[in-house]
């Protein structure tokens, strides 16, 4: 036995002995407890994670009384993390979602304990997986058009969250990600350049070295996240900065971003053209915030323009049952204004278009090695056949106030009269078109009405009369369940439908619904979640978070007992190869055994019922579910569905 090995063996025995008596000592020596737990520079050992960790050199030395305990962290009266919370409060950050990790223990402690009303603004939201924390920020950010915080534990938390961050980036979803960094504790949890691993799909990141820098970085991060192109940002916060004594350092005031819009002269020019057009139109894509949506409505009403909306495919667009929304009385639009409508749509608009589309080029922002597939070459356009509209590369939402003001100044009484008449015609035509569209849709949706397993159209149809008079938000991606809300429901709120997983990543829905549930809980809203079974199983712990925080999420399982999309792909593939079409279920179905989602919900503390196979039972079940979520209790209804 070498000397070294001998010392290790001796140290280990002494250490274990200490551990055995430790409990008794702890029970009696309460005042010293916190200090005993406090890590010193050297005592911080990676071995902490193993069951019976061998002591490190400094512990051995202490056991042998060779050295006294290193000096303990002195008591801090105004920790840096309190100031961080102060900054989050100033910016109106309502929630910080996290799976706990010691790299942000100081910030977590400040969130839950600091201030007159501790654990509010932000409230700490407990997640069972980092993917859920970031997906929650996505659901919230898409519903509200503003960031909440996701707190991640170092390299590990960032990696668990990576796909969710990637999707937020694709979706332009504003969120403030804080990654804790604890250099010297467990090195595998730390990196010199922590944000590097997600840099190619975040908009902006910072690793501040001092407390003042950290506070400034949080503020700048918030500004970056909310300025077009909106998206996720990362601020890496070292434990030292979170824990340091702030003294009398004053929290700097938050300055909201200054987002450039049309200048007064340009606004006036556009206003004139809108006012003088015979049949103006406004095509609305996705604006940044609910305020932008309100202003788009105001402008359309002032001008008496017909409008188009993307509210049935995603958030922050024009109310789709607004009187102006639809083709209008005539489609000979002579002036079309696009608001955050991409270039493809602009090309369809005809020759006199002005679009105020902000640049949302995903390639433009530090997108690392990933590149979009180049689009195939198209035949050159015949000269003069299509004139692509002018694209004004400015933020539409920031341009609207100036545009509205200019219109208000320029509108004469005579024009107002003409506009009112046109608006009435537009409204009548749109209402007619809308009713006809719905009627036509119903003749298709009725097929399979009495089928068991339950038809997806029936789920959406049965829901509508029950939620129409509620303040609801469809937070789940709907394409895998047939998107039947598009024709059947009215999408009149900025958050009526939150859209697809932006990069098509499955597993997003459950978390996004829980996050939208945070916004809903504060605002007396309810969340409708048509939850596909495949998606549910990536991070089902979102259910516990809903139960724990009283989130009004009604989950209705689209339980087709498969990753059905994949089953169809596979069947086609086998067919093309002329073999084994009866084996395509291998690896693409969730059978043997079936998963019981009511029990899953129950295990996580969410009330529920099912599985329902008889469509006649849906309505009563939905009513129970809606009553439950209106009382602040999440609810899950397992429905066995037709695959598509």
């Amino acid at each position: 036995m070498s000397n070294d090995a001998g010392a290790r063996e001796l140290g280990r025995r002494a250490f274990l002995k200490g551990a055995a008596t430790g409990t008794a000592a702890m029970a009696t020596a309460a005042p010293g407890l916190a200090e005993a737990r406090a890590r010193t520079d050297e005592a911080a050992a990676p071995e902490a994670a193993v069951a019976a960790p061998p002591p490190n050199a400094s512990q051995i030395a202490r056991e042998l009384s060779a050295s006294p305990p290193a000096s303990l962290t002195p008591l801090v009266t105004r920790p840096g993390s309190d100031l961080m919370v102060e900054v989050l409060k100033q910016m109106g950050v309502e929630f910080a979602a996290a799976n706990p990790g010691s790299s942000f223990e100081a910030l977590q402690e400040s969130i839950v304990n600091y201030g007159d009303k501790p654990n509010t603004m932000p409230e700490f939201i407990t997640c069972l997986h980092e993917e859920t924390a970031v997906d929650m920020a996505s659901g919230y950010g898409r519903a509200e058009g503003k960031p909440m915080v996701a707190l991640l534990h170092g390299t590990l938390g960032l990696q668990h969250a990576a796909m969710a961050i990637y999707q937020a980036y694709y979706g332009g979803t504003p969120m403030l990600i804080i990654a804790g960094r604890d250099d010297g504790f467990i090195q595998a949890h730390t990196a010199d350049d922590m944000a590097a691993m997600v840099r190619s799909f975040t908009k902006w990141d910072a690793h501040p070295k001092t407390l003042p820098e950290a506070l400034a970085a949080l503020q700048e991060g918030y500004r970056q996240a909310t300025t077009a192109p909106t998206g996720p940002v990362v601020v890496v916060l070292d434990t030292e900065v979170q824990k340091e004594e702030a003294g009398d350092f004053a929290v700097p005031a938050y300055r909201p971003p200054v987002i450039a819009g049309l200048d007064a002269a340009a606004a006036r020019r556009l206003a004139e053209r809108l006012i003088n057009a015979k049949n103006p139109r406004i095509n609305v894509g996705r604006l940044r915030t609910p305020q932008g949506v309100r202003q788009a409505v105001q402008l359309a009403e002032l001008i008496g323009a017909s409008t188009s909306s993307q509210a049935t495919v995603g958030p922050m667009s024009f109310p789709n049952r607004h009187a102006s929304c639809g083709p209008g009385a005539a489609t000979d639009y002579d002036f079309t204004l696009g608001l955050e409508i991409g270039p493809a749509d602009v090309a369809l608009m005809g020759p006199t278009i002005a679009s105020i589309a902000a640049t949302r080029d995903k390639m433009g922002v530090a997108f690392g090695g990933l590149r979009a597939k180049p689009s195939p070459p198209t035949a050159p356009l015949a000269p003069m056949a299509v004139k692509i509209g002018e694209t004004i590369g400015l933020d539409a939402e920031a341009s609207l106030p100036g545009l509205i003001a200019a219109v208000q100044i320029l509108l004469t009484a005579e024009r107002r009269d003409a506009i009112a008449k046109r608006a009435a015609l537009t409204a009548a035509a749109n209402r007619k078109a809308n009713v006809e569209g719905v009627r036509k849709a119903l003749t298709v949706k009725r097929t399979g009405w009495n089928s068991s397993p339950v038809s997806l159209a029936r789920i959406y149809a049965e829901l509508w009369p029950l939620i129409e008079n509620e303040d609801w938000c469809l937070a789940s991606p709907s394409v895998l369940s047939g998107s039947h809300h598009r024709e059947l429901w009215a999408h009149n709120k900025p958050y009526s439908y939150l859209g697809l997983p932006p990069a098509g990543g499955i597993g997003y829905g459950a978390g996004a619904c829980a996050g939208a549930g945070l916004a809903a809980r504060e605002r007396g809203r309810i969340i409708i979640n048509i939850q596909t079974d495949g998606d549910m199983n990536y991070a089902p712990g979102a259910l516990w978070t809903e139960a724990h925080h009283g989130l009004p999420v009604l989950s209705i399982m689209h339980n087709n007992r498969a990753w059905h999309q994949e089953l169809m792909f596979l069947t086609f593939m086998a067919g093309a190869r002329g073999r084994g079409t009866d084996r395509a279920h291998i690896g693409s179905t969730l059978r043997n055994p079936f998963i019981d989602y009511r029990k899953m919900a129950e295990a996580y503390g969410v009330a529920g019922e099912g599985p329902i196979e008889d469509p006649a039972l849906l309505r009563a079940a939905f009513k129970r579910g809606i009553a439950s979520v209106k009382a602040g209790r999440p609810y899950l209804i397992d429905v066995i569905t037709q695959p598509r």
Partner: protein
Amino acid sequence: MTLSSKLAIVFLALAAAFAGGASAQTAGDPARGKTLYFDHGCYGCHGYQGQTGARNLVGTNSPIIAKPEVFLFFLRQRGNFLPMIPSTAMPRFSEKALPDPQALDIYAYIKTFKLDAPDVASIPVMGQIEASAARAYQAGR
């Protein structure tokens, strides 16, 4: 002309040729067909009762299900190429994967499908949806 539209034309010509003659096929067994319809994933794109999904198999006057010969021909000729991107189009069902007798069982099963949905007018929920579509927009609702 794309490959699939060429196939469609060939197919329609053949379907017309088949349309005249009497059926030479022995009838399949719908009970066995039900299992096979599930096992080969037909339900995946046509619904368990042929009423939902990619294409209704009920309430159509499609020549493809008018006669077993046409149906068999249709199964064999479909999508006989490897997709470069994943596809949910109607797959090919080769004789090796789904021999004639089994295919005819499926055919017999498909023929039992009926459109059992009530008329729109007799579904109260649909009336409510229509009424809702006619309601005037109110800000904040």
